[in-house]
């Protein structure tokens, strides 16, 4: 039995529309960016630079040249990452106007170690070449994005927080903009006294920078037939931020325990532990969602990880001050959309799957893709051109193919899939790929949909440590720490079938880091207000749609 046997009650058509607001109520902007993350804000910043250089572009774009929609409370509220950032994208974006020293980083990577763990031991192993982080910087991406948001506003962008982009406005085969989500509906969808309907926002070019599981990105891939040669797959990352007594002076990655190496489990992933200055660190567990055991809980694997003496020592005397969870696209090169544009539309960043899995890097690709999208959009708006003419935005695809995004992803294109064959075999294949810079094996290995993995049960949950409120925490405490205060009577934004076999209910119950799903008597009980919008459910048979703008976590340190 597989999650894909119980598909979500969802259809892309529901999230496509033509504009319906009367002309005087529509909002018109020059260029519309969906998502105030690294890709979206890099795009906005680059557009700001271009508008500054060209007064006639400014005029052509109108009163609101650049608008960025953000469904979180503010830029950064829904951002979770490790993160060790390759500064390449930022340097190219700011062209000397801002230095790395101006940005809120926690310092350059001083040293790094990789460990192979067992429950009680940690064996240092040589750092695989794909993971070397020399010259990179540690950041809280949420914090960095907040800073980028300030830069974008200074560059003239209008950021609209607490605004979800719910539908893609399409007419005559071209994208006209988006329709924002309603606010003030009750649990059953009924309008409440302060009901505020969404608005049609029209733009010459719409750039989707929604990040992992991008909602409209998914709609666009479906509508315009843009899906890549292989289906996208995801991993779930769950992390914590800790105040600690002794600074950690190196970047640490671990493999092995608590994941199981056997091929039947398909547990691919590992953990990261990054220093954040003198008195904080962040640690997280990342596991591919192609795992099969219904009782696997990445949230609880992270708790288990902390019982290893190496990790426990780092946290001694400390205090948990942050928590977050989010999926990461892992399909890489073979899962990239076959085209990154459609009439009036561009796709950037994690939403398009631009992540280098072995190196655990995606931020600098997001930033670079945002920058390139800005240039392509402006190019398509030159006098005499229209952005919805066929191929008008094709310059974006060309630019991406010429960029380091393409060459990097191509070199590591088969690595993730190799680990589908188990840890040891996968490791050997990965080594061969690295040594040959991707030439071996030739061709592209396919990915398999996460939801198509059969489910097995193993009693794994018996080994999760009991919460003690000091080192080990339960899911509800974690949700609380994410800052999630979503109102309880909000409509349910999660599409899942609720009468499903027990194993599937248990799978979702354990999978969700926010305890949204509870298996109970042949049913799945859903508590949508817990949801931190990580996207895991979309990988495993359900579908996350954007809730009311402003709902969800309020991350600050993740």
């Amino acid at each position: 039995m597989r999650p894909a046997d119980y598909p979500a009650p969802f259809s892309a058509r529901e999230f496509m529309a033509e504009p319906t607001d009367p002309p005087d109520e529509r909002i018109e902007v020059g260029i519309l960016i969906v998502g105030a993350g690294p890709a979206g804000l890099a795009c906005a910043i680059r557009l700001g630079q271009l508008v500054q250089e060209s007064p006639e572009l400014a005029e052509r774009l109108g009163d609101v040249p650049v608008a960025v929609l953000e469904k979180g409370k503010q830029p950064g509220s829904h951002i979770v990452s490790g993160a060790v950032v390759n500064p390449r994208g930022l340097r190219r974006l700011f062209r000397g106007q801002k230095q790395i020293a101006d940005m809120p980083f926690y310092g350059e990577v001083e040293a790094e170690s990789v460990y192979f763990l067992r429950a009680k031991t940690a064996l240092r192993i040589p750092t695989p070449p794909t993971m070397k982080n020399h010259g990179n910087y540690v950041a809280s991406l949420s914090q960095l994005v907040r800073w980028l948001g300030e830069q974008a506003e200074e560059a003239g962008a209008t950021i609209l927080p607490e605004t979800s982009a719910e539908r893609l406005l399409v007419q005559d085969g071209r994208v006209l903009g988006v329709r924002t989500g309603d606010k003030g509906r009750g649990r059953n969808g009924q309008p409440l006294p302060n009901f505020e309907p969404g608005s049609d926002i029209l733009a010459r070019v719409t750039i989707l920078c929604e990040g992992t599981q991008g909602h409209l990105t998914g709609i666009a891939l479906d509508t315009f037939g843009l899906e890549g040669e292989s289906p996208q797959v995801w991993a779930l990352g769950v992390k914590e931020v800790w105040k600690v007594e002794r600074p950690l002076r190196r970047v640490v990655h671990t493999m092995g325990w608590p994941l199981r190496a056997g091929a039947k489990y398909r547990e691919f992933g590992g953990s990261f532990i990054y220093p954040m200055g003198e008195d904080m660190l962040t640690l997280g567990m990342v596991v591919g969602l192609d795992y099969r055991d219904a009782e696997l809980s990445v949230h609880d694997l992270l708790q288990e990880l902390k019982t290893n003496p190496l990790v426990r020592r780092m946290l001694e005397g400390g205090e948990r001050v942050g928590w977050g969870a989010k999926t990461i696209p892992e399909g890489g090169f073979v899962a990239l959309p076959r085209r990154l544009h459609a009439p009036g539309l561009l796709l950037c960043g994690d939403g398009a799957g631009m992540v280098n899995v072995p190196a655990l890097k995606g931020i600098h690709y997001a930033i670079e893709s945002g920058r390139l999208a800005a240039e392509a959009a402006v190019d398509a708006l030159r006098p005499g051109r229209t952005p919805w003419a066929p191929g008008a935005l094709g310059t974006y695809d060309e630019a991406v193919r010429q960029s380091f995004i393409w060459s990097d992803l191509k070199a590591v294109r088969n690595m993730r899939q190799a680990f589908g064959r188990g840890f040891y075999l996968g490791g050997m294949l990965a080594g061969a790929m690295t040594a040959s810079r991707g030439a071996f094996p030739p061709g592209n290995m396919r990915t398999e949909r996460d939801a198509e993995q059969p489910i097995l049960r193993s009693g794994r949950s018996r080994r999760y440590p009991a919460p003690d409120g000091k080192l080990i925490f339960d899911k509800l405490s974690s949700v609380y720490l994410s800052g999630n205060r979503t109102r309880d009577d909000a409509p349910n934004h999660l599409r899942v079938q609720t009468r499903v076999p027990e194993e599937l209910a248990v799978l979702w119950d354990r999978m969700c880091p926010a305890q949204v799903y509870e298996a109970s008597n042949g049913n799945v009980e859903v508590t949508p207000s817990n949801c931190v919008q990580c996207g895991a459910i979309t990988a495993k048979g359900g579908r996350l749609t954007p809730p009311e703008g402003g709902a969800g976590p309020e991350y600050t340190l993740t």
């Binding site: 909002i27 409370k73 609209l160 006294p193 302060n194 505020e196 999630n484 205060r485 600050t556």
Partner: protein
């Protein structure tokens, strides 16, 4: 009719509010947001203006310069203008000092009605309105769950421990609304986009003729001495029911004089 709404930015670190161990005051260095109760006061002001068919809603706030960002949400809801009293010497102001600064700004506005929200969610607010009414020398009604404005006067339904009172006062007056008064509207997108263009003034204390020494720590008459953990819960007992749990609970309650 001019309605002034006193609003306050509070730190919006949704979970991790902390007291700065050095200043022993609430750490306000995180992102700011509009106090939820204040949005209810803004909503009430907007409703009054809409009921009258005309008028102006002015936001008045006392805080650091960055507080303007939070005021924008209230402007996005529909308020017309914002006035921020911002001065470095204002940091650490207590009730008396704050009411002095706000009072000066409100005096300048000469509003018919001054509205406050129920309480500051950052453990600082709670009784500012009565102090401000004193500065302005006008009547004050608090805990108002329903408000009606007529010719030159208003009527408020005040909720108390004993039920509700109906109190009338001539304008100008100060009213503090309770959290039962309304459900604030969501700002429309047009409202959000238009907020930046609305007039926003920042004034210093000197602009208002307020002596710097009369605000901030210097002008405050209270002081924070130390921080401590809350007293431990005392001995906590845990028992298993052997049939007599109900009796044991009664004994416990009686012992604590709770029966």
């Amino acid at each position: 009719m001019k309605i002034a709404v006193c609003v306050k930015e509070v730190p919006d670190a949704a979970v991790h509010k902390r007291i700065d161990p050095e200043t022993k005051r609430l750490d306000r260095s995180g992102e700011g947001a509009l106090n939820h109760f204040d949005t209810q006061a803004v909503e009430e002001a907007l409703r009054l203006k809409e009921a009258q068919g005309e008028g102006e809603v002015v936001l008045v706030s006392f805080g650091p310069a960055s507080a303007l960002d939070s005021l924008r949400k209230a402007l996005a809801m529909g308020a017309d203008r914002a006035v921020l009293v911002s001065d470095e010497s204002g940091a650490g102001s207590d009730l008396v000092a704050t009411s002095r600064a706000l009072g000066a700004a409100l005096q300048r506005e000469e509003a018919d009605i001054v509205l406050f929200g129920q309480q500051g969610s950052d453990s600082d607010g709670a009784v500012l309105w009565a102090a401000v009414a004193e500065r302005l020398r006008v009547p004050v009604i608090s805990q108002v769950a329903e408000l009606e404005v007529g010719e030159g006067k208003l009527k408020g339904k005040r909720q108390t421990e004993f039920g509700y009172d109906v109190i009338e006062a001539p304008l100008p007056a100060v009213v503090a609304v309770s959290d039962a008064i309304n459900e604030p509207r969501y700002p429309s997108l047009k409202g959000i986009m238009g907020a930046k263009k609305k007039p926003q003034e920042t004034m210093s204390l000197a602009d208002l003729g307020v002596d710097e020494g009369s605000v901030g720590e210097a002008g405050s008459r209270t002081t924070v001495l130390a921080l401590a953990d809350p007293p431990p819960r005392g001995d906590s007992q845990k028992i298993e029911d052997d049939g007599s749990a109900a009796e044991q609970i009664v004994e416990f309650l009686a012992g604590k004089k709770l029966l």
